[in-house]
Symmetry: C2
Subunit: 310 residues, 2 copies
């Protein structure tokens, strides 16, 4: 796999957005109480942006390959999206997940008819490092490094531009980095000059630390933003280095408070990862031209209750 | 006050919608997991549909009258809307509220710079019955019986039609009845034949009971749908009798469960009243042409946490 992604020009972004239109939602962009706007990807089918990438990948792979079934590895939201796309295409699906994934994500995958294989973090990281999927019968869709997945995520950009033509800055939560790479490529194609800000929790500031030490840092996730717990990946490191203009790390306590304030003040449910960009926006980045991506809302009810009463 | 509301024709509905456009949001209509659609009035400024009616009323009253300040009486959401409109127009505001109103609503009113006067239910109902506002210096806006408020609520109808031209049925939570009267008038003007369904909790089925006994029933609210705790009003009784096609009462336990499932499955926060229409839709009314109005999302975080862990 090479790091550079070519061919994501304006025509390609619009083509992918058109391809996805029947399968996904054009999510609302709502004004935030702080100023700026929130893009509610939590309202996508399966509760996160991930359906964009997985539908795009499944379309690009082609019917005969897809008929073998889909396979992915995921902190949860990619698993849900993969299972949803497989069900829509009426093919089998298997997902490898952390055994610490929220019950709502694991149960959701199974409710969609997919096979959820739970592994410890060490076991799962080894499964990824050895590219175990190459020995499996299904088509493997990499949840964030796949070029097709990343190109699928660029479909969010025409939607933002339709609602806010004067957008100046977009704040994006970062796990593996697929979403922010897709968004950065989309803006580079359609409105160069929009500033792309990546945000993580201080409970797992993987990429900030990676750029500081210029390589894989030694970090274990300790964050409610479980959706951002992807491991270091050298290809994504190179892509993020060239596509992201600024990095922000939000204190874990702020992420927790932000989930609660999104519920009580904005009336929307965000999971930890989904709250990151709004937390960064409230912290001095709430100009009228700023969009924060609320990437997902898959949070166990018991966890949301806990955050609401802290 | 007469019951019949004249002059709400198609031109008038569009005129009011145009008047309100700079001040309110065109809220998203999202597909519901059950089938059908949800209109997210919870995403309005102040977290409920009420800003539509209060902006319309303030505009129609005229600047010189409005300069005296605004006064209303409210279970909470009308109070928030009145305070918000007064702040936008830079005039004083005073609201009379139940002393049992959720803290989020009382604190919200005060945060908007208005004076919140808390009364026991008996005291407040007496204040209303004696039309105490006529002795007060401010302009009184009746939170649900005002024709201007009702006409303001009709502005939701062109938005629904723009997103779902083939709408066949709309399910609306009912407290005092201002929202459903506005919606019924709007559809009568723009798409006659759309079925208008009113929904309340079995914890306070005021209007169902009123139509059963053909007059004011003896009922005390025992429901988390605090936004529907308005008293019987003979003018509204007559209007509802002529405008609403069907009534539904949802068991209180279902309302509570629905608040939780809206948060975990749909990723939106609804207060008790806001969950009523979705509860009625899930219960056998989820055809593709059905819209449930999610009227508001002003719920104390502690209450939401309680419902999430039941």
């Amino acid at each position: 796999m090479t790091a550079a992604i070519h061919g994501v020009d304006a025509a390609r972004v619009h083509e992918v957005a058109g391809l996805l239109a029947p399968h996904i939602r054009q999510t609302p962009l709502i004004p935030a109480p702080s100023g700026g706007f929130l893009k509610l990807e939590s309202l996508q089918p399966t509760g996160s942006f991930k359906v964009r990438g997985f539908f795009a990948a499944a379309h690009l792979i082609g019917r005969d390959q897809v008929a073998r079934g889909l396979l992915t590895v995921s902190a949860g939201n990619a698993a849900l999206a993969c299972a949803y796309v497989a069900r829509e295409l009426q093919v089998p699906c298997r997902v490898v997940m952390f055994d610490t994934a929220p019950a709502l994500k694991v149960n959701g995958v199974r409710a969609l008819g997919a096979d959820a294989v739970l592994m410890s973090r060490d076991h799962l990281l080894e499964w990824v490092a050895t590219r175990a999927w190459e020995r499996d019968p299904e088509v493997f869709i990499h949840p964030f490094a796949s070029e097709a997945v990343i190109t699928g995520h660029s479909s969010i950009v025409p939607e933002i531009l339709a609602d806010l033509p004067d957008v100046e800055r977009v704040i994006v939560p970062v796990g593996g980095g697929g979403l922010i790479c897709g968004i950065a490529l989309g803006f580079a194609a359609l409105k160069p000059g929009v500033r792309v800000v990546g945000v993580q929790s201080e409970g797992y500031p993987l990429w900030q630390r990676a750029f500081a030490v210029n390589g894989p840092p030694s970090l274990t996730p300790d964050t409610i933003a479980d959706g951002t717990s992807a491991p270091f990946d050298p290809v994504m490191f190179e892509r993020l280095g060239s596509l992201v203009h600024e990095w922000v790390a939000v204190p874990e306590a702020t992420v927790r408070r932000t989930v609660a304030s999104l519920a009580t003040d904005v009336k929307v449910v965000a999971e930890g990862a989904g709250a990151l960009a709004y937390a960064a926006m409230v912290d001095g980045r709430s100009s009228p031209g700023t969009v924060a991506i609320l990437s997902g809302g898959n949070l166990d009810g018991s966890r949301l209750a806990e955050l609401l009463t802290e």
